[in-house]
């Protein structure tokens, strides 16, 4: 064992950490060959970084040599950093040995572009192939596709990987042109489209033939950088909405820009926009699990999310005529729209009210948080709170009114961030 690997790991973990996707869920790979690993079901966070993010995968670059010069990226050609590269075997050994000790769910491998796109992509594929075929590894593998890589290589990658991602990074073509001049939207969207087609095709074939080889069973994802360029939250979420609808993406990740670069092409920020990033995740969550349309969350009059309150509360304050909601009779969908009531609480309410009419005490015992909800609900037509505040009064009351509401909001928002992770 040599110390060289330690040195490489430092550099190549460092360079990979700004890609925030770390999920290992949605896998369907079972351990059927009495081999190593199992990637069924929900991924596990085996640790948490000191910034509170889930550590689930060994997330590294194969190399941080790069021929491109994207302004927002630490690995860009013009940046003065130490360069190095793992060998295929080194990545395989690290993955297997970490996995055997229950440190990780699998590997998330990305790379700077070494020589050219195909040359690099071919090596990523080789790592995955070796893990699957030689090591009988059934853990989770997420491969980043290299912009410009050939269709055949991407297709091959999908045979071994559980998830593929194509990072868009910048939320508009214009930003892309100014910050990553070597890239363009059509080139990025092309592989995304072909992965989608492959996914659809594999699904259809597997309906006909049982033995169809799997293609990226956990689907594809992408990442958007927030705060490096001037796009509004509305532009960002509209783009995500399209990506979910048109490209069937499993996840869009948002990465609050960490100022790793003093490149003059960038907006000048000193701190990563963490709260904004959380609000965007919350809104994304509302679109995917709470039945909200992007148009309900943001519109011409409100192009950006309110940083002080979560987007569901924001929506409720703009749409007071839906409230109060009667807990004993309202539809599940409507209960879900009550600020402060999440999926779990809503389900419990629906279940319990079949047995007895619910009072506020029942809700408290079930763990439903009423701090915000109480302004928006009734239990058997009774309310806990005067309902005649106007929206601005209500907003102030919730934010500053009752003691610790503010910090409760903060905790809640971090909760959501975690669930999104």
């Amino acid at each position: 064992m040599n110390d060289k690997v330690i040195g490489k790991l430092k550099i190549l973990a460092d360079a990979a950490k700004y890609d925030v996707s770390c999920s290992s869920s949605g896998g369907k790979r079972k351990n059927e060959n009495k081999g190593l690993g199992n990637a069924e079901g929900m991924g596990i966070c085996h640790s948490y970084t000191e910034d509170g993010r889930c550590v689930s995968l060994l997330k590294i670059l194969l190399t941080n040599f790069c021929i491109y010069d994207c302004a927002y990226c630490v690995t860009r050609k013009s940046n003065d950093v130490q360069r190095t590269a793992f060998t295929v075997q080194e990545v395989v050994d690290l993955t297997i040995n970490f996995y055997r000790r229950n440190y990780i769910e699998g590997l998330f491998l990305s790379s700077g572009i070494f020589k050219d796109a195909d040359y690099t992509m071919e090596r990523l594929v080789r790592v995955a192939k070796k893990l699957r075929q030689e090591e009988k590894f059934n853990g989770y593998i997420h491969l980043k596709t290299i912009p410009g890589a050939s269709d055949e290589l991407i297709k091959e990658a999908g045979l071994y990987a559980d998830r593929l991602s194509v990072n868009i990074e910048l939320p508009s073509e214009k930003s892309l042109q100014s910050l990553a001049p070597e890239k363009n939207y059509s080139e990025i969207l092309l592989p995304m489209g072909s992965i989608k087609d492959q996914l659809v095709q594999a699904k259809e074939e597997s309906r006909l033939f049982k033995a169809t080889p799997k293609f990226a069973p956990a689907g594809q994802s992408t990442q958007l950088i927030v705060g490096a360029t001037a796009e509004s939250d509305r532009q960002i979420l509209q783009l995500s909405d399209q990506l979910y609808k048109v490209y069937n993406l499993k996840r869009v990740y948002y990465s609050g820009y960490v100022p790793v670069s003093t490149d003059s092409r960038l907006s000048i920020i000193t701190e990563p926009p963490i709260i904004r990033e959380n609000r965007i995740y919350q809104a994304d969550w509302l679109m995917r699990f709470y039945g909200f349309d992007v148009k309900e969350i943001l519109d011409d009059a409100n192009p950006n999310l309110d940083l002080d309150i979560d987007p569901k509360l924001g929506w409720a304050l703009r749409n007071r005529y839906f409230f109060p909601v009667e807990i004993n009779t309202a539809d599940y969908e409507m209960i879900l729209r009550v600020p402060g009531i999440g999926v779990k609480s809503a389900k419990k309410i629906i279940s319990a009210r079949r047995f007895a009419p619910l009072h506020f005490d029942h809700l408290r015992q079930m763990g439903v948080v009423l701090k915000r909800a109480k302004y928006f609900i009734t239990c058997q037509t009774k309310s806990l709170q005067r309902q005649d505040f106007d929206s601005e009064q209500l907003r102030r009351r919730i934010l500053f009114g009752e003691g610790s509401v503010r910090s409760a909001l903060l905790t809640q928002q971090l909760d959501l961030f975690q669930r999104a992770g």
Partner: protein
């Protein structure tokens, strides 16, 4: 007043339910034999575990409850906190005495409590699946010790079996003094005497028992952990919420840095 004692097993507890119905004598208290205090009042019923009777109770429950509700009763048993026997008894009785399903009736206090216990135990189970760190020994065994808040070892076996089918591994619960050992063919519960795990391994392995590369990989993991962190986003409160301090002892990344 009836005081029931049993041998501490889940089957024993189900036998208590059977006996109580048989006698129509509802328990004032249910306690494991070795803990039971002789009572001056009332009658003490010493229940002998009977698999046949336990099975009949279980089958009766199975007819009336979903898999998840059955699981919540077993989880309540593994929860081990004082009063769990009573809770399981009351729940069971309500199930048998109600003409309709009682599941999801969170307006009944002990149904809600059993559901909350299920959640707690499940969370501990999940944490153990996440935080177990195997150390490889010189003879190729992957070993980990745990001391979970609740008795979750039986619940995590399946998870590790599926995952580590091609390596020998053992997980030992140091506070309850038993473990599981997988020998590439099957998994068995082991006590300290078992040859698979020697008494010295009951808590931590010594470095001299390690495989030659073990320290190296622990070090690499620490290096990795340090370098995925983004210092600009530091958030100690959130970090602690996810990994409360009492779990740090399991985690090599939370130990002093190896040289």
């Amino acid at each position: 007043m009836y005081f029931y004692t049993y041998d501490g097993s889940f089957e024993g507890l189900l036998t208590v339910v059977f006996e109580a119905y048989e006698r129509k004598a509802w328990p004032t208290a249910i306690e494991p034999e070795q803990l039971a205090q002789p009572s001056m009042f009332g009658e003490t019923v010493r229940v002998i575990t009977d698999e046949g009777k336990a099975n009949r109770v279980w089958l009766g429950l199975k007819k009336r409850l979903s898999v998840s509700a059955l699981e919540s009763l077993y989880y309540t048993y593994l929860w081990e906190q004082s009063g769990f026997e009573r809770l399981i008894f009351d729940y069971t009785r309500l199930v048998f005495d109600s003409p309709e399903s009682v599941e999801g009736n969170y307006t009944a206090p002990f149904i809600l409590q059993v559901q909350q216990i299920q959640k707690q135990v499940h969370r501990e189970k999940h944490r153990m699946e996440a935080f177990v760190r195997f150390q490889k020994t010189a003879d190729g065994l992957y070993y980990a010790s745990i001391s979970p808040d609740f008795n979750v070892l039986p619940l995590i076996v399946r998870h590790f079996e599926k995952r580590y089918a091609d390596q020998r591994w053992a997980i030992y619960d140091t506070s309850r003094r038993y473990g599981v050992y997988y020998d590439l063919r099957a998994t068995s519960f082991v006590q300290l005497e078992n040859p698979g795990v020697t008494p010295r391994q009951q808590s931590k392995l010594n470095a001299d028992q390690y495989d030659e590369n073990e320290t190296h990989y622990q070090m690499l993991w620490q290096v990795y952990f340090d370098h995925v962190n983004i210092p600009e986003r530091k958030n100690p409160k959130l970090h602690l919420r996810h990994i409360p301090k009492r779990y740090w002892k399991y985690l090599s990344e939370k130990q002093p840095r190896l040289q």
